[in-house]
Symmetry: C3
Subunit: 168 residues, 3 copies
């Protein structure tokens, strides 16, 4: 009864996998390269982006660190990044695990689970393991282009700077 | 004479690679998600699981940190995890490199080498780089299902908590 | 105007991707396993290898930490590693992100961008996050064998031991 069930999506062709994996990795690399303006466009117009902790996620609590509903709220975050926030300059280095995919409920929709480890580098060169966790994504594929419909960022630890300037 | 020889297994189709990579990553994600009960079922009934250090492995020493012969011993470890051990609650975050595969000696058998970096997160949120090393796996593929026949976990450093509660 | 453009190389078959990814990962694993003699042979005879910092790279400054022009200079570095250098024994553990590829300007040439996080392990077991950054590679594929024509290692931080004994 405890047999391992392969979670691979049946019917997930290697070209679809390629497209989905590229989305996940391009988004991370864009953030690492400081192209934060691109970030909202990895999401659909109506997408949700939610950052929470493992504890809250396991308990089913809706409380999170960040919650964006729709691309508009993501664009607002990017605007705030450019104008309002005062913070010490830094950037990230994401290394992601290999995503595991399953078919979503709607057509051309895929679910993904993928680990991440993010190192934060301050302008003076200081470096620290900043965040670890997993991405739980719902991705839609339209005309060969994939976008996030939902991204839940589940942080392993609640010890994190409350001021998450650059999205994870 | 020092030419690099591509170590890719001839005849390793992309669908076989997909199956093998899924095994390796699902096993890691199951441990990270606390599904330790699933862990022995990623192995065949007669599989061996061996944790050793780089030093001992290079010297060909059979001494290791953990040595399980057969799934029964792995189930015992899981049982001990649930009942006997007293330890501070924690979980892992694995990030794995891309495995390199070669054909095993027996039919439908594959060898794999894959790096890992594991962060350990304590219940109070403390986080540390806990272990790094490589997995040396022998995987069998039967009826489209892949399982570990042998897993050797080669730790980079002998500095590790002797009480390895959750398997790596 | 800010639409995300998929950066995947058109015409990049999955078998070409496999070959390119294997090159990048085999090179890292060879260094981790102490097979430093193999390192120059992952490059073409006329290849360049350049280690620089994010700051210098962004400013277009040619100043770097290491600069090798041609495999001969890489062989010299390896020779120095074996004979001249006096240093505390250590090794690396690389974990790499998934490379994103685009077509190069010449035929059978590919460009790649790939994150890395490298942990350094000293002989006494001490372990630290040593370097993070990205590889910007130009890879040529001849008769099914891929080699680096150019590798630019962009370090996230200028805080790094000036004596980079083992290549990154």
């Amino acid at each position: 009864m405890n047999e391992v069930v392969t979670s691979t999506a049946e019917g997930l062709t290697s070209s679809v996998r390629e497209t989905l994996e590229n989305l996940i990795n391009e988004c991370a690399y864009a953030l690492d390269d400081g192209d934060i303006d691109r970030w909202p466009y990895f999401f659909t117009e109506s997408a949700t982006y939610h950052v929470t902790t493992r504890e809250n996620h396991c308990d089913g609590l809706p409380i999170g660190v960040i919650h964006c509903v729709g691309r508009g709220m993501m664009l607002d975050r990017v605007k705030a990044f450019h104008t309002a926030n005062i913070f010490e300059p830094h950037h990230y280095n994401h290394v992601l695990g290999r995503p595991l995919f399953s078919m979503g409920q709607a057509a051309d929709t895929y679910r993904s689970r993928c680990n991440f480890q993010v190192v934060r580098i301050m302008q003076d060169g200081r470096r620290e393991l900043f965040a670890t966790g997993k991405y739980l994504d719902t991705i839609v594929l339209e005309n060969g282009v994939s976008k996030f419909q939902e991204r839940i960022v589940v942080l392993d630890s609640r010890h994190i700077d409350i001021l998450l300037v650059i999205p994870l």
